[in-house]
């Protein structure tokens, strides 16, 4: 009895640990984890008579295969669509389990394979060995820089891309590795019970997994283990409650979400400040950023029309123009957040315009955003862009909300940076731009209407007209 419970805790802990990678680390609400558990259980049950104990290895492979097959289209989806897509996948798997009677035995499920698999103490030891290995691996992976990257991905995905983190790859790996854990747990559960029915793919397994992870703590390495222990042992303690244990269980989950958002393990650990992973050492790298007839449309609106100019290392180019003239769009286009529709963007001749944001960041273009991450000190965006080792910096309104003294400080910092960097600076403060920039580019309705020294551009009648709103 005790042994059976210990095995059960181990199985659900493994399922939950896999889920922590997807849900905890990347905050993606994957509702197919329970179904992948079922896939593992069926895979083991179906192959046990042919492969013996090795059928347990088929489980993670089968679950990983399903996850990898389903993942690519789903990973691009925003949070609520991702949840829906995984829910649809889970429902589909459940439907197959119930209806594909030749394969799965239908509603009755599969029996009679248990003797071919490890049982009793052997199984308990096996489950816990795998679990300990997985917990240690998880802890060491997410302890250092990887953990910081994951944190950046879930708290500030745009910033993550701007310092060169490939969100798509992360989510794919998390989904598949999470699936491997789920499949393995499913295989073990088939060995433990000797029966696999459609219930294994049902929503109750998913609920159990979600609850365990939320209650235990979504990211702490021992969160899933603690959560699974609570989830398995509590019902044993409250046997008197009979059928209503699920009710007590759901109430507990709700209470934890409301009052202990980091889960039980979170009560013991303190929150650390957000720190940014240093990706690349100081800048050598490319010398010239060149834009050639870059265009971008949003529906019927031409946000950028044939924008061409160059920035060399060692110069600061200021970007001015009225609100909505395309300044931020241009920075987004260069950094790959909004790919250009036409034209080329090259860095020492290497084309950037088709690359994803994280790859462009790795080529040496760092950027800051208008709105800082919540709770972050002013100037942290600049520090982060520098920390990537970028040769070119795209700064979006770094002086917004600054006092005059802070502006002076920023101006002298920028002059210092000019020695080693090429900078594109967007700001509304034309005085500041005039002081620090070598050249100004003026945009109006997505078109470059003037390029030149600050004095020339400010004297240009077209620029004056665009700012004052009268035709030239």
């Amino acid at each position: 009895m005790v042994e059976r419970l210990a095995t059960l805790v181990g199985i659900y802990a493994l399922l939950g640990l896999g889920y922590q990678i997807v849900f905890g680390q990347l905050r993606a609400l994957n509702l197919a984890q329970g179904a992948l558990f079922g896939v593992g259980a069926y895979a083991t049950a179906l192959t046990a008579l042919h492969l013996g104990p090795f059928a347990l290895l088929v489980a993670p492979l089968a679950a990983a295969a399903v996850a990898a097959l389903a993942a690519p289209p789903m990973l691009r989806l925003q949070s609520h669509y991702f949840a829906l897509a995984t829910l649809a996948l889970a429902s589909l798997i459940n439907l197959v389990a119930v209806n594909a009677e030749d394969l799965t035995g239908g509603a009755n499920g599969l029996v009679g394979f248990g003797l071919a698999l490890p049982r009793g103490t052997t199984l308990t030891i096996l489950v816990w060995l795998v679990l300990v290995a997985a917990v240690v691996a998880y802890a060491s992976v997410f302890k250092g820089r990887m953990g910081e990257k994951a944190r950046l991905l879930r708290d500030a995905p745009l910033v993550a891309a701007s310092v060169g983190i490939d969100a798509g790859l992360w989510r794919f790996l998390a989904f598949v590795i999470g699936g491997v854990c789920a499949g393995l747990a499913g295989g073990f559960s088939a060995a433990l019970t000797g029966v696999v029915s459609p219930e294994a793919t049902g929503f109750s397994v998913m609920l159990l997994c979600l609850t365990a992870v939320v209650v235990g703590g979504a990211r702490h390495p021992l969160g899933a283990v603690l959560g699974a222990a609570v989830a398995v042992l509590l019902p044993e303690l409250f046997r008197g409650l009979q059928g209503s244990w699920l009710l007590a269980y759901a109430a507990a989950t709700l209470a934890v979400v409301l009052w202990a958002p980091e889960g039980l393990t979170g009560l013991f650990t303190r929150r650390r400040a957000l720190s940014i992973p240093l990706v690349v050492a100081p800048s050598s790298g490319p010398r010239r950023l060149e834009l050639d007839r870059v265009s971008k449309r949003f529906g019927g609106v031409e946000a950028l029309r044939d924008v061409s100019f160059t920035v060399d290392r060692g110069e600061i180019v200021g970007l001015i123009g009225p609100n909505g003239s395309g300044k931020t769009t241009l920075l987004n286009t260069i950094s790959g957040l909004e790919p250009a529709d036409a034209g080329t963007i090259t860095l020492d001749g290497a084309h950037l315009e088709r690359l994803p944001a994280h790859a462009i960041a790795r080529h040496g273009i760092g950027r800051t955003f208008q709105t800082p991450i919540e709770g972050e000190a002013r100037g942290a965006g600049l520090a982060r862009a520098l920390a990537t080792g970028a040769a070119f910096l795209l700064l979006d309104e770094p002086a917004a909300g600054m006092t005059d003294r802070e502006r002076d400080l920023l101006a002298s910092q920028l002059r210092g940076l000019r020695r080693n960097h090429g900078i594109i600076l967007v700001d509304h403060d034309v005085e500041l731009l005039t002081r620090v920039c070598d050249r100004l580019v003026c945009l109006d309705s997505g078109k470059v209407i003037a390029v030149g020294s600050p004095a020339e551009v400010r004297a240009d009648p077209k620029v004056r007209a665009s700012f004052l709103g009268v035709p030239a």
Binding site: P73, Y81, A85, S91, V98, L247, A250
Partner: protein, 276 residues
Amino acid sequence: MAYALVALGFVLALNASGAVNFAHGDLVVLGGAVAVLLAAWLGLPGFLLLPLVALALAGAGVLAAHVAILPLARRPPEATFVATIALAAMIEQTLTVTMGAAPRTTPPFLGSGAVTIAGVPLGLQPLAIVIVGAVLVAALWFLLERTQIGRRMRAVAADRHMARAVGIPVRRYVTLSLALSGALAGIAGFLLGHQFLVTPTQGGSHMLKAYIAVALGGWGSVPGALIGALAIGLFETFVSAEVGDAWASAALYIAVLLVLTLRPRGLFGEPVGQRA
């Protein structure tokens, strides 16, 4: 048409809270269960029960807002997802414990007979569903588009910070939206419960269909949800008549995955911008 009510309630709650309410399907089931109980107690005819069920479920919606949605307003949407999933499980388990797993049937709205209109025999209950549904959809449209309350609800949905900044009491409007959402769910549960029976475990599939309807119709769009729900209804009716229920459901899920693959923001795009 009943799906449309489920989906409309879902989209109201979604817009108000900015997150998926996973308990919505269970509110539908709860509506059916309340109707069964009230009918047994009071013995009232269906059309008198309807306002009572709506009122009771509006109360449930308010409760849901205060337990699982308002306290989590400042946290990432996933917190609300998990809280409402827990709430859904609580409703389902409570119903299982109190009324048992056996299916029950709610009283019909007008009667269970059929009338013949222009030579076509029509069941009274499906007819009632269509009429009640159409009336409620029209009333909801009027509320949202033509009244100050509706404008404020839409303002809260579009941007809660901005709404607060112009002096709209956001919490009150979120609660109101959830009450309306609950009432719609309750009515839908009551109307569906006569034909399709009430079992505690149905909540998940109601929720999934509303979710699909809203995702296909365009996230947060009220007319989109309506079109999505009607499309699912038609799809299910015709496809299951051709190939059976299991294949119809499978085809629906596959269609959803395909649509999301090809149009990651729903069939009609996402008119209200990115929101979780």
